[in-house]
Amino acid sequence: MTTLTLAGLTKTYPGTDRPALDRLDLAIESGSLTSLLGPSGCGKTTTMKLIAGLLAPDAGEIVLNGRSIHGLVPERRGVAMVLQNPLLFPHLTVGGNIGFGLKMRGLSSTEIARQVDPMLARVHLDGMGHRPPTALSGGQQQRAALARALILKPKVLLLDEPLSNLDAGLREEMQTLIRTLQRETGITTLVVTHDQAEAVALSDRIALLFGGKLAQHGPPEDFYRRPASKAVARFFGGVNFVPGRSQAGTFQSVLGPLALSKGLADGDHLLTVRPEALRLSPGPNARRARVDAVAFLGTQTRIDLSVAGVNLQALKAPDEAATLRPGMEIDISLPPDALWLLPSGDH
């Protein structure tokens, strides 16, 4: 098991005036699968390359099991990174690719073969060791690239957008494989992704980066139920925001007083409620709402509502929304435990 701690990590690329990574502090749990999530240019891949040693930081420390790896060349860090494209070496066979790192360590070819064969099986490439990489499908190439890193038994495994070049079907398959192998090996793993749904489905914990800074770090549910800011909430599909003031468990706004769950702070805040948590039935915090639009989205239906002049959006199972038509007046409710308060300054 390996703990990985980033402390004050900063990197500005030559010729740019804004740092790509700005004093990032992040403690990765040993043996966990953590997603580095964020829009393009947020510093995700820069963080990966700093950990792998492919870039040098301007400031800050990278500590592996309590020991700084600042001065170590990439090949001595015990960190294996799988870059975004499969990047299988075209002049080697699939087996040759998977055994590449072992060969660099000077292992004999029989020893390499002894380790490559079971690794091929683990990524479902049995019997494909002698093929050229071009004979593999996109998903198979991605799996071979994963095997090429895993065979080295690294202390930390870094995966840069491992699903970005795959179709929807293959994506799910690869997700399951990464999850399974990570649980079996217990290797502390960091996955870079820009896709919020992918991060949620794949990881134990998510570190969300905005503009080179850590926006939030925690388990996936937190980003829906307890977002740290409006920007975080929006990145995860939050759409309902109402400014107002909370006091003694009640939120005062144009929507009238709303009961809050316990433990929320008093003061000026932005109220948010997830569109899928808003209820289309009477209950606590009930309100009268007008239906403005109903859009069938497949497995869910989006309902645009007006409540006391405020536009709210709900996301419901199609069955539940089947009878709704624009112009109808309906009862909705905002369950207290679905309400969350954001800093009000953060518009």
Binding site: G53, P74, M81, F89, G101, L158
Partner: protein
């Protein structure tokens, strides 16, 4: 446009264009008395070939010398051209366009004009009339060429492969040996073959810098041609085009065998 029709047309036109100019050489080399307006010579003879391979003619020594100069020029060009081409192909920097343009200058500026300048500089350096001087002079057109070819090769090379190798535990040397070199070798081979041929076929530069003391095959060929001995000229000319033909045949074989892979490398 129909690709297949175009292909046949182009292939035919080019095959004719490639072979026709050399046909008279073969005829000359075995001809005995071939005069305008005869379409073919009246008698044939192997006299010219016997003479060409005799020690008095100096053809074989000249062949060896030309080969040595071309090989050395190519090796030196590769040693400088690979790192220079890598920098030019992989990195963006201010003034890159200008550097590329200056590298093209030896192709843009007529070599004849440069000959005079080089001659007077080499005179002061004591390089005129030496094999080293000729090799240095050949590097003037060859080195920029090799650098540009390698720049094109590296422009198609994804340096992420090197990062990936490092991250899999390869040292910088292992990375070059096991990842970069295999990736650039088809382009490097193409560049080396062309460099060899550019050096091999230099006439004016060798004449000016070698000052008649470095007698390469093109010089020998020209002096026999000037002396009007068409049969020996034909024989030497055939020897002279041997490397070119070998390279065309070898490359054609690889092209038809491996398809587009090498073509990418060949397109400069």
């Amino acid at each position: 446009m129909h690709a297949d029709r175009l292909k046949s047309l182009a292939a035919t036109a080019l095959a004719v264009g490639l072979i026709l100019p050399f046909l008279p050489l073969e005829i000359w080399s075995v001809a005995h008395g071939w005069r305008f307006p005869d379409l073919l010579p009246r008698e044939t003879s192997t006299k010219a070939w016997t003479y060409a391979f005799s020690s008095t003619a100096g053809v074989l020594e000249s062949f060896a010398l030309t080969t040595f100069i071309a090989l050395t020029t190519t090796l030196l060009a590769a040693l400088v051209g690979v790192p220079a081409g890598r920098a030019l192909g992989l990195y963006r920097f201010r003034g890159k366009g200008l550097v590329t343009l200056l590298l093209l200058a030896p192709a843009i500026l007529p070599g004849l004009a440069m000959v005079f300048g080089l001659h007077s500089i080499f005179l002061r350096l004591g390089l005129n009339g030496t094999v080293s001087g000729v090799i240095l002079a050949h590097l003037v057109p060859v080195l920029p060429y090799m650098t540009l070819v390698m720049a094109a090769v590296f422009a198609n090379f994804d340096p992420a492969f090197e990062d990936q190798a490092r991250s899999l535990g390869a040292s910088p040397f292992q990375t070059f040996r096991h990842v970069t070199l295999p990736a650039i070798s088809p382009g490097l081979l193409t560049g080396a073959l062309f460099s060899f041929l550019v050096s091999w076929s230099q006439y004016l530069l060798t004449l000016a810098i070698g000052g008649g003391r470095v007698q390469t095959l093109p010089l020998l060929l020209f002096s026999f041609a000037a002396s009007g001995r068409n049969d020996v000229t034909g024989a030497i000319a055939l020897l002279y085009i041997v490397p070119g033909l070998v390279i065309v045949l070898v490359t054609a074989h690889q092209v038809s065998g491996r398809g587009a892979a090498l073509t990418g490398g060949l397109r400069p």
